[in-house]
Symmetry: C2
Subunit: 251 residues, 2 copies
């Protein structure tokens, strides 16, 4: 059953330039730390310095950087500008990526105004909404345009990244339209699980999920003493009236 004979046991069989996902997720953090150091006039930094600035430990940082190549100098450290450029290139932010934002509600507004759209590397080319009362509104130096124009805009500006800031309801349909128009990366703020074909990348940002994760840990911190054991099995035969956790405010 276990056919492990054909596999070499030693190396982790990393693809040529395949960088582990966990590392990819940290590269932007390193990039920001390097930018901060650079702005502070620091020309050289050790892995220890960088790790502190990025909030990770130095072994992890060195291993992460080693996937990109050998850009440091032993006994010295890393040249801040040089490393910064190498990471930026690896991530792909030395070029500009065209981005559309769909759904100009509160959050869409906020993102549209978010001037330094992260670091350089991204250019918002359109703000789209289907609501006629929003179309034409000016936000910063941009104007909200009709979602119907999506296909033209994607084609004209070679948009490959879409940001969805609609409510949950229309999110999947917006997503489908984006994909059909040729967008292959989507950042989703709507509280739904979007389904996309293979080859399309999705990332999700979800405020309420983050809060709930915090709440879980918070509960365990203050919890133990304050919350007595929950009854084993409330009478649930067809009833939806579950007991409130003891010690809480009576509902």
């Amino acid at each position: 059953m276990t056919r492990a004979s054909s596999r070499r046991p030693g190396p982790p069989t990393r693809t040529e330039r395949g960088i582990p996902e966990a590392t990819v997720a940290r590269l932007p953090v390193y990039l920001r730390a390097l930018t901060a150091l650079s702005d502070g006039g620091i020309a050289t930094a050790s892995s220890e310095d960088l790790a502190t600035a990025a909030g990770v430990n130095s072994a992890k940082l060195r291993k992460d950087l080693s996937y990109l190549g050998s850009y440091g100098t032993r006994g010295v450290g890393y040249d801040v500008e040089y490393l910064r450029y190498q990471i930026a290139r690896e991530i792909g932010v030395t070029q500009d990526w065209a981005v559309v934002i769909v759904g100009i509600g509160n959050l869409g507004h906020a993102l549209a105004n978010y001037s330094g759209f992260g670091t350089r590397g991204f250019r918002i080319v359109a703000l789209l909404d289907a609501d006629p009362t929003l179309i034409g509104e000016r936000i910063g130096d941009m104007e909200v345009r009709d979602f119907a124009e999506l296909e033209d805009i994607v084609k004209a500006d070679r948009v490959s990244i879409g940001v969805i800031t609609t409510p949950a309801g229309p999110a999947q349909e917006v997503c489908d339209r984006l994909v059909a128009a040729g967008v292959t990366s989507i950042l989703n703020f709507a509280p739904v699980v979007l389904s996309v074909p293979d080859g399309v990348d999705i990332r999700k940002v979800d405020l309420s999920i983050e809060l709930q994760i915090l709440a879980y840990h918070e509960q365990r911190k203050s919890g133990e003493a304050a919350l007595p054991q929950v009854p084993e099995l409330p009478a649930l035969n067809g009833l939806t009236d579950y007991p409130t956790v003891g010690g809480g405010v009576g509902a």
Copy 2:
């Protein structure tokens, strides 16, 4: 069943009620999926159904749920309402958590208006900012108050969760004030690495990092053939002469 008779470390040495972090991060997703099913009038769902709704695979979902207890029925599935309540209780959203938002810029505005603040379970008790021109402004049914009132508010409303939506600059100071006032969980939207003492949980949401991660994958998709635009080592800003790694600079 919990105690293996042999000395083998059969169970993964999980602490009594310690749920793996990866699982904790998915519980809110399951909770939302269950709520959707419930709203759709579905009373019972198999792990397959739930997994589909949550966008994970069913084995993972079953294993995740198994950390909470045995809430399913073999041959049948899970009672949607019952499971929903159990997960909500485990996360801690059967009670209300008081939340303050600090930094009422674009994003703070958006969050303040975000009516169904996620699901139930969280109550925004104050919007704070240090800018006098903002203080007093009404947002929804709330009013922006002076950040100086933080300590009083935290004490009065037993606030344990703080949301930082300030720019990067003041974020660490705001964070310190929150911690000093007694807040033990922080959701940070500012693009900085915050440092906090042990016992305080931090989660970070960072738009530009998410975009950069997408860009990385996007680059590799369209990459190899389509983008001849990236030179090996351009003059970055015409400023810096990169030291060659092996360059012997004579002293």
